[in-house]
C-alpha cells in the first residue's frame, strides 16, 4: 500500500516524544536541513502492534524554533558567544486532517514524517472522496486545492461564505475566481450542466464588475511575475487547469439614469456600451407585490407591517386583469396643482392614469389620508391609526426619488417588456446587476425583488440548472438583528435554496453581524484578511487558533478555505483576474483602431 520511497515526499522529521502525541494533533522535530512552514501538508505512517499500517495526513499549523538545553532567555548571548553549547530545536505541530484506515490510535514518537505529495496529497485533502471537484486555488507549494463540487451545488451541501475586510480581503475577486473555476474547469461538463448553470452577480461597489467579459491586459505580466517570484513550475492558471480568459456570455444590467425623460440609458460611467438598463413597470410593482421590499425595516412595527400588507393586497387587486405598464383608477380626481406637478394624465370616462411612482404615492396618500374629508377610504385604512398611515406615506416619499426611475408606468408596453430584468435569458450565463449607484433602499429593493423572483421561479422548476448568486455586504441585507423582507428571502435561499438549486456565494466584512443561519448554512467558508478582534468572535471558531491570528496578516490574493471534506482550513492563493476590473485594464482588442477606441471613450 505504501508507495516506494522515491515516489514519496521528502523526509521532514520525526514525531516528538516530549509533547503529547494524539491522533488529531502532534508535534514533530524537523530534520536539520529540512524546511517546514505553516500550511505544509505532511503524512506519517505508524504501525499497529500487529504490523498493519495506519496513515495520518495533516497540515502544519504551528512551527517554532528555540534553543534547547538552556534555561534562560539571556543564554542566547552565551550560546552566540560560543560559551554555552545548545541545540536549536525546530519543531512543527500538525493538525491531522485524515486517518486512514480510521483507526484513531496515536502515532508513535519517532515515526517518520514526510511531505505529502502526489497520491499522499490527494488523500490529505480528501480528493479521493470527491467525485467532482474544481480548483479552489493553489497551496503554498503550487499544488492545487480541490473543492468538492457536490458541497457547492447543493447535492451534499451548498453555499459559500466569504469574510474579510474590504479592500485587502479581495472577497469579490475570490468569489469571481470560484465562479470562473466552476464554469471553466470542466466540473460541469461531466453531467453537461455547462450551458444551464448560471450566475447572478450584484455589483455593489464601483464599476469593478462591469468589465467581466473583457480581457485584462495586465494579467499575463502579473502572472508571469508571480510565477517567477514564487518559483512555480508553470503559470498559476495553467497549474489550476483554467483558461486565462474573461467570462463568456455575460449580460450587464444597470438601473436607468434618473430624469432622462423617455430615453432610458443605463446609469454607468465607465462602460459606454453593452449595458442594458432595467426597469419594473408600475403594474408589475403592484401585481407582483413588490411593495414590502420598499421597506427594509417594515417589520419593525407591527402596525406598519399590517398597513404594508394591506396596501400590498389592495394594489395587487387594483392592478390585476390588465397588462399595461400603468394603472388606471376611477376614484381619484387630483387637483390641478398635483396635475401640473406630476404630469397626471386622464383617460376616457374620467379615469385617472397612474404613470409614475410619485403618482402612485399620491394616490395612496389620497386613499389613506384625504378621501372622505381626511378619514380615508375605510376599506384601505382598516381602522389603522392616522399616525401609522402617515408614517407609511412618509417612508414611501422618502424612497420616491430612488425608485422613481426604476418603477415606471410611462413606457409603452413593448419597451417596458424589453427592459424587464431577465436574469435567466437564453444564451446568458452570467448576469451582472449593477446597483452601486442606487441608494441603500433601492439597492435592497432590487436585490430583494430579483432574488424573490428567482426563488419563486426555482420553486416552480426545481433544482436543475443551478444558479449562483454572488452578493457582497450580507450584513446590510441580512443583519443579525431585525427582520426585513429581503432577509427573509436570503434566509429562504440559505435554508432551502440548496434543494432548489440556488447557491448563495455571500460575502461580508464581519460574519458576526450577519444572520447566523445564513453563515452557518454555508458548506464552504472562506476567510480573507480579518480584523483581529473580529477573528476572535465565535463565527470564526472553525479556524484553529493559529489560523485566526494569521487572518490578520493575510495578503490580498490569499484566502483561508474551509470545506466539509477537510477538517482543517487551507491557505490558498489564487491568480490575478483574467478579466478587467477597470476601464484602463481592458486589453486593446486586436484590429481595433484608435478611432474606434476614441469613440468608445466618448460613448459614440
Amino acid at each position: 500500500m505504501t508507495p516506494p520511497d522515491h515516489e514519496r515526499g521528502e523526509r521532514l522529521g520525526m514525531v516528538l516524544g516530549t509533547e503529547d502525541v494524539t491522533p488529531v494533533s502532534f508535534w514533530f522535530a524537523v530534520t536539520p536541513g529540512a524546511s517546514v512552514g505553516l500550511d505544509d501538508l505532511v503524512t506519517v505512517q505508524t504501525r499497529k502492534p500487529d504490523g498493519s499500517p495506519v496513515h495520518f495526513y495533516g497540515i502544519v499549523d504551528h512551527v517554532r524554533t528555540r534553543h534547547e538545553g538552556v534555561t534562560f532567555d539571556s543564554d542566547v548571548a552565551d550560546v552566540v558567544a560560543g560559551l554555552l553549547p545548545a541545540a536549536v530545536s525546530y519543531a512543527a505541530r500538525v493538525q491531522v486532517t485524515r486517518v486512514s484506515p480510521e483507526n484513531f490510535i496515536p502515532p508513535q514518537p519517532g515515526d517518520e514524517v514526510r511531505r505529502a505529495r502526489g497520491e499522499d496529497l490527494r488523500l490529505a485533502l480528501s480528493a479521493d472522496k470527491m467525485k467532482r471537484s474544481f480548483p479552489g486555488g493553489l497551496l503554498a507549494d503550487g499544488q492545487v486545492l480541490p473543492l468538492n463540487y457536490q458541497f457547492v451545488n447543493g447535492e451534499q451541501g451548498g453555499h459559500i461564505n466569504i469574510s474579510g475586510i474590504s479592500g485587502v480581503a479581495t472577497k469579490t475577486s475570490y468569489a469571481l475566481f470560484l465562479l470562473h473555476a466552476i464554469f471553466r474547469s470542466g466540473v460541469l461538463d461531466a453531467r453537461s450542466e455547462g450551458h444551464r448553470t448560471r450566475a447572478l452577480i450584484f455589483n455593489v461597489k464601483g464599476e469593478d464588475l462591469l468589465f467581466l467579459d473583457q480581457p485584462n491586459r495586465e494579467v499575463a505580466q502579473r502572472e508571469a511575475d508571480t510565477q517567477a517570484a514564487k518559483g512555480l513550475p508553470a503559470g498559476r492558471y495553467e497549474l489550476l487547469g483554467l483558461p486565462m480568459t474573461p467570462f463568456r456570455d455575460v449580460q450587464f444590467l444597470a438601473p436607468p439614469k434618473a430624469g432622462a425623460g423617455d430615453v432610458i440609458v443605463p446609469d454607468v460611467e465607465q462602460r459606454p456600451s453593452g449595458v442594458t438598463p432595467f426597469v419594473f413597470s408600475l403594474r408589475e410593482f403592484c401585481v407582483r407585490r413588490m411593495l414590502p421590499y420598499v421597506f427594509p425595516d417594515g417589520n419593525a412595527s407591527l402596525n406598519l407591517g399590517f398597513v404594508i400588507g394591506n396596501i400590498e393586497e389592495k394594489l395587487a387587486r387594483l392592478a390585476a386583469g390588465d397588462d399595461a405598464p400603468y394603472l388606471t383608477v376611477e376614484d381619484w380626481q387630483p387637483d390641478t396643482e398635483t396635475l401640473l406637478a406630476e404630469d397626471v394624465r386622464f383617460d376616457d370616462m374620467g379615469q385617472t392614469r397612474l404613470q409614475t411612482f410619485a403618482q402612485l404615492i399620491s394616490y395612496l396618500e389620497y386613499k389613506l389620508l384625504e378621501q372622505n374629508d381626511g378619514e380615508g377610504d375605510l376599506k384601505w385604512v382598516l381602522k389603522q391609526h392616522q399616525g401609522t398611515l402617515r408614517a407609511f406615506i412618509r417612508r414611501l416619499r422618502g424612497v420616491q426619488k430612488h425608485l422613481q426611475p426604476l418603477v415606471r408606468g410611462d413606457l409603452p408596453p413593448e419597451r417596458a417588456q424589453a427592459y424587464r430584468p431577465d436574469i435567466l435569458k437564453a444564451g446568458v450565463q452570467t448576469t451582472v446587476v449593477d446597483i452601486h449607484k442606487l441608494g441603500a433602499h433601492a439597492q435592497s429593493f432590487v436585490v430583494g425583488v430579483l432574488l424573490r423572483d428567482l426563488f419563486e421561479y426555482k420553486e416552480r422548476t426545481g433544482r436543475q440548472d443551478t444558479v449562483f448568486v454572488v452578493l457582497d455586504e450580507l450584513n446590510k441585507y441580512a443583519p443579525r438583528d431585525g427582520d426585513s423582507p429581503i432577509k427573509d428571502v436570503l434566509l429562504d435561499i440559505a435554508e432551502r435554496g440548496r434543494s432548489l438549486g440556488i447557491i448563495l456565494i455571500g460575502a461580508q466584512q464581519t460574519a458576526s453581524e450577519v444572520e447566523r443561519r445564513i453563515v452557518s448554512n454555508a458548506a464552504i467558508r472562506v476567510v480573507g484578511r480579518l480584523d483581529l478582534a473580529e477573528a476572535e468572535r465565535p463565527e470564526y471558531r472553525f479556524l484553529p487558533q493559529s489560523f485566526r491570528s494569521r487572518a490578520g496578516i493575510l495578503q490580498p490574493g490569499t484566502m483561508l478555505v474551509s470545506q466539509p471534506d477537510v477538517p482543517n482550513p487551507v491557505l490558498v492563493s489564487y491568480p490575478f483576474p483574467a478579466w478587467a476590473t477597470r476601464r484602463d485594464e481592458v486589453a486593446e482588442e486586436v484590429g481595433k483602431t484608435a478611432e474606434d477606441t476614441a469613440k468608445d471613450w466618448l460613448g459614440l
Binding site: 538545553g69 534562560f72 543564554d75 552566540v80 558567544a81 560560543g82 560559551l83 554555552l84 514518537p109
Partner: protein
Amino acid sequence: MRIRLDPWPVDMEGGQLGLQRFDGELIDIETPRWAAVPPRPIPARLQTVYVVDGKRRMESRVFIEDEGGAAGLGGFGAYVVGAVELCPHGSRPATLRDVRAGRVLAHAPGLRVDPCRLSPRDPHTGQLQYEPVVADSAEPLAPLHKLQQLMLHAEQELSHGLASAVPFSEEDEREALTALTLQDGTLRSQNLGGAVVGCVKTMQTQYLPPDRAGLLAELQPGERTPILHLRSEHGRVTRFTWYVRLCEAAFYQHPLSGVMRLEMYAPEDPDFLPPIVRTVANLSGTLLRRLASQAHKDPRAPQNLIPTAALEQAMTRAMGSADLVTRRLRAHIARELGAAS
C-alpha cells in the same frame, strides 16, 4: 564582629569555604614577590578549550547468585563523561563532544556474570546493555568505587586526549598551546601529559599561610596569585597551583567568594616551571571570567562555569531517567525470573 555569607546554597555539602589546615609544602616557583598578577589576553594560537566532566550513578544494588552456587553483592551502574568544545575567542559555537554513557554491572570478585541486555519496551526506545566488571573487593561499597574508578579513568583519557601535551623538559619549551582542557575538580592522581587544568570550585583546604591569605581578598577580577609548587603532606601529590578571582565578592559575602583555585600537574622537583603552565596561568583570569556563571542562573556561581553546567545537564540526560531505568531493571528481572520458573 563582622558576619558575611557563604555564597553557595546551604544544601551543598560543605559550602564554598572549608578552610582546613594544610600541612604540606609550598614553594614559590614563579616569583618570591607575593603580589597580584594581572591577567593577559588569550594567545591567538589557543584555538580550543575543552571543559571536561564526568558523572556516575548507581542505579540498583543487587545480590547475585551464579550458576556455580557463589553469591555476592553488585550493582547496576551508569557513568558518563563528556566535553564541551569551545573557542576561547568566541569564533564558533560551543558544542558538546563525546557525551556518552556506559553501563556496567559491577560485582564482587569470584562470580561468573553474563552481560545483561535490557531490551526496549517500545520500538523507538533503545536497549540498555550492562557489561559485567569485577569490583576490587567484596565490600558493599566496592561496586560503587569501581564505578567511580571507571568514570575517572574515562574522564582522564578524554581530558588528556583532547589537550595539547605539556613538556616537562626545558628543551622543547615552545610546544604550542593550541588546546587546553579544564577539568572539573582537583586533578586525578595519574598524569597523562596533557595541558589539563583542574578547576577547584571550593576551598576545603586553605593552602596559604595566614600572612599570605590576605592577598586573596585583595585580588581584582581576573587577577591571580603567583604560581606555587605544592607538595602534599606525604609527598604523594605535587601540583602547580594558583588562585584567580572570577568576580567581585558582594559586600555581604565573605571576601573569598568569587575566587577559584586552579592546579596543573607538576614534577616532584620544584626547580622548573614549564612555560606552558605560566601561559595557562596568565590567560586563566581572562578565560575564566568569560566562562564564569552568574548567581541568578547558577547557585554555585561564579565557580560553576557556564559550559560545565550545560555539560552536567547533558550528561544527566545521557544517562537517562533514573526512574525509568530502575523500572526497566525491575521488568527485566521479573522477566528473567518468570522465564526461569
